[in-house]
C-alpha cells in the first residue's frame, strides 16, 4: 500500500516517512502529495510566532491540552533554526510538549529551517497538507523564534498568534511594520513579570491608531501565564471567535484562494527552476548563454526569455 493511502487511514509511521520525503524533496513524494491533496483543506491552522523565549512551545503545550479536552485531534509543526555552519540543528520545542507523546490524538513533528528564511521551513506548506489529510482538526504551527520581519506564517495560518513578553521595548517598537501587523491575537505571556501593563497599553494604543472597518476583525490582546495554565481559556475563545469571524465575513474563502494562488506560483517557480537546472547539466546551452551574457552579447532579460522559449518548444517538464 502506498504511503498516501496509509496516511489517510491515520498511520503514524507512513505520515512521518512522507514528511521526511517531502522535506528532503525525494522524487516519489510528489505522487503521494497528489493523492492527498483532495483530502486537505479541513484543518484549522493556527500559527504561533514571537521572539525566542516568549513561551511559544509552552503555550502550544497547554493549547494541545485544551483542544484534547474538546476531543479535537491536533497536529503540531515546531520549527527551529538550522546551523549556518554545520547544517545541523537542535530541535528543542518538543521538550515542552513531550507529555502528549503517547496520545494518539496528537502528532508532533519538529522541522529545521534548512536555510529557509521567513520563520518557517520550505517544506512547511506540504507538512501542513499532510497533517490536514491525516485528519487533524487543528494544526498548530510554531515558527522559529523571530524578530521583526519573519511573517511567512500569515500566508499559511488561518489564525495568527503573536506571543510577546513584558520588557521588550517602548511605543516605537509597537508602531513598526512587520510582525505586529500580522497578529489576529496578541498573547502577552509571562504576565506575572514586571512590565506587563506597559506592553498591554502600548499594544492598545497601536491598535487604536489603526482604522478598522465595522466587519473587520480587531486583534485581541490577552494575558497568559502558559506555564501555570492561566489565561488559556481566553486564548481558545479568541481563536474560536476569530474563526467564526473569518467564515461569517467571507475572509475564510478569500484566504483559501490566496493560499492556493501562492502555492501554485511557488510550485511553478520551483518546477521551472528545476527544469532550468536540469537543462544546464544536459548540454552546453545554458553555459553558452552565460558566455553571451558575460561578454555582453546579450542582456539577462533576453537570455531568460530564450530559456523560457526553449522550455516551451521542448514541452518536457
Amino acid at each position: 500500500m502506498g504511503l498516501a493511502k496509509r496516511i489517510l487511514q491515520g498511520d503514524i509511521r507512513a505520515t512521518a516517512r512522507l514528511l521526511r520525503e517531502v522535506e528532503e524533496e525525494l522524487p516519489g513524494a510528489i505522487d503521494e502529495l497528489k493523492v492527498l491533496y483532495p483530502h486537505t483543506g479541513r484543518s484549522h491552522v493556527v500559527g504561533i510566532t514571537g521572539a525566542p523565549g516568549s513561551g511559544k512551545s509552552t503555550l502550544i503545550d497547554v493549547l494541545i491540552d485544551a483542544y484534547r479536552r474538546e476531543n479535537k485531534t491536533v497536529g503540531v509543526i515546531a520549527i527551529d533554526p538550522s546551523s549556518p555552519f554545520s547544517g545541523g540543528a537542535i530541535l528543542g520545542d518538543r521538550i515542552r510538549m513531550q507529555r502528549h507523546a503517547t496520545d494518539e490524538g496528537v502528532f508532533i513533528r519538529s522541522l529545521a529551517t534548512r536555510g529557509w528564511h521567513g520563520g518557517l521551513s520550505k517544506a512547511a506548506a506540504n507538512v501542513i497538507h499532510i497533517m490536514d489529510a491525516m485528519g487533524r482538526d487543528v494544526i498548530l504551527v510554531e515558527t522559529v523564534g523571530v524578530g521583526q520581519a519573519e511573517v511567512d506564517i500569515m500566508n499559511f495560518a488561518h489564525t495568527s498568534l503573536v506571543a510577546l513578553v513584558p520588557g521588550t521595548g517602548d511605543w516605537v517598537q509597537t508602531l513598526k511594520a512587520g510582525i505586529l501587523e500580522i497578529a489576529d491575537i496578541f498573547v502577552i505571556n509571562k504576565a506575572d513579570k514586571q512590565g506587563v501593563n506597559e506592553v498591554e497599553v502600548e499594544l492598545q494604543a497601536m491598535l487604536q491608531m489603526g482604522a478598522y472597518s465595522a466587519d473587520a476583525w480587531k486583534p485581541r490582546i490577552l494575558l497568559t501565564e502558559a506555564i501555570n495554565n492561566k489565561g488559556i481559556d481566553d486564548v481558545m475563545e479568541a481563536i474560536r471567535q476569530h474563526r467564526e469571524s473569518l467564515i461569517a465575513s467571507g475572509r475564510y474563502e478569500a484566504h483559501l484562494r490566496e493560499r492556493s494562488r501562492l502555492e501554485l506560483f511557488e510550485v511553478l517557480k520551483s518546477s521551472l527552476m528545476d527544469r532550468v537546472f536540469r537543462m544546464a547539466t544536459e548540454d552546453d546551452y545554458v553555459e553558452k548563454l552565460i558566455d553571451d551574457l558575460a561578454s555582453r552579447r546579450v542582456d539577462p532579460y533576453s537570455a531568460a526569455s530564450e530559456v523560457l522559449k526553449r522550455i516551451v518548444r521542448e514541452g518536457k517538464f
Partner: protein, 141 residues
C-alpha cells in the same frame, strides 16, 4: 528536485534520572556534525521515547541513563520499536553501565554502548559509519 539527506537523531533520557549534562553535550556534538537532533527532555518513559521517534522519523535513538535502570529501560525501548515494526531504527546507549551488562544489552538489540570518558568524536564517527538516512523505496512496510 534536489535531495539533501540529513541524519535525524533522538537523544532521550529514559527513567527517573535528572542528570542530562552528558545528553546535552552529545546533542550539541551531533548538531555540530550536521545532524538534526531532537532532545526528549528528562524523565521519559520508553513509550514516550518510541512515539517521539516514530513521529519524528529518526534514524537513530541515543539513550542516556545514569540511574542504573538501563537493563530494564533499554530493552523495553527495543521491544516497543519491534511492536511498532520500527526495528530499522538504530538504538545506542550510554551512561553508567557495568561492563558485564554490555553484552546483554547488545544481545537485546542495543547496537553500541558508550561509557563515561569516551570521546565525542568516536560517537559522532560511529553514527556516521553505522547509520544512514532511510532511503526512499527501502522503507520497511
Amino acid at each position: 528536485m534536489t535531495s539533501g539527506r540529513k541524519l535525524r537523531i533522538l537523544v532521550a533520557k529514559p527513567g527517573l534520572d535528572g542528570h542530562d549534562r552528558g545528553a546535552k553535550i552529545l546533542a550539541r556534538a551531533y548538531r555540530d556534525a550536521g545532524f538534526e537532533v531532537i532532545y526528549s527532555g528528562l524523565h521519559q518513559t520508553p513509550e514516550q521515547i518510541v512515539q517521539a521517534a516514530l513521529q519524528e522519523d529518526v534514524d537513530l535513538i541515543g539513550l542516556s541513563c545514569l540511574s542504573g535502570a538501563h537493563m530494564y529501560l533499554f530493552p523495553r525501548v527495543i521491544d516497543l520499536l519491534k511492536e511498532s515494526k520500527a526495528e530499522d531504527i538504530t538504538v545506542i546507549g550510554g551512561g553508567i553501565i557495568p561492563m558485564d551488562d554490555i553484552p546483554k544489552l547488545k544481545k537485546a538489540g542495543i547496537k553500541e554502548v558508550f561509557l563515561p570518558g569516551g570521546s565525542l568524536k568516536d560517537m559522532v564517527d560511529w553514527a556516521k559509519a553505522n547509520v544512514e538516512p532511510c532511503r526512499y523505496g527501502e522503507r520497511k512496510e
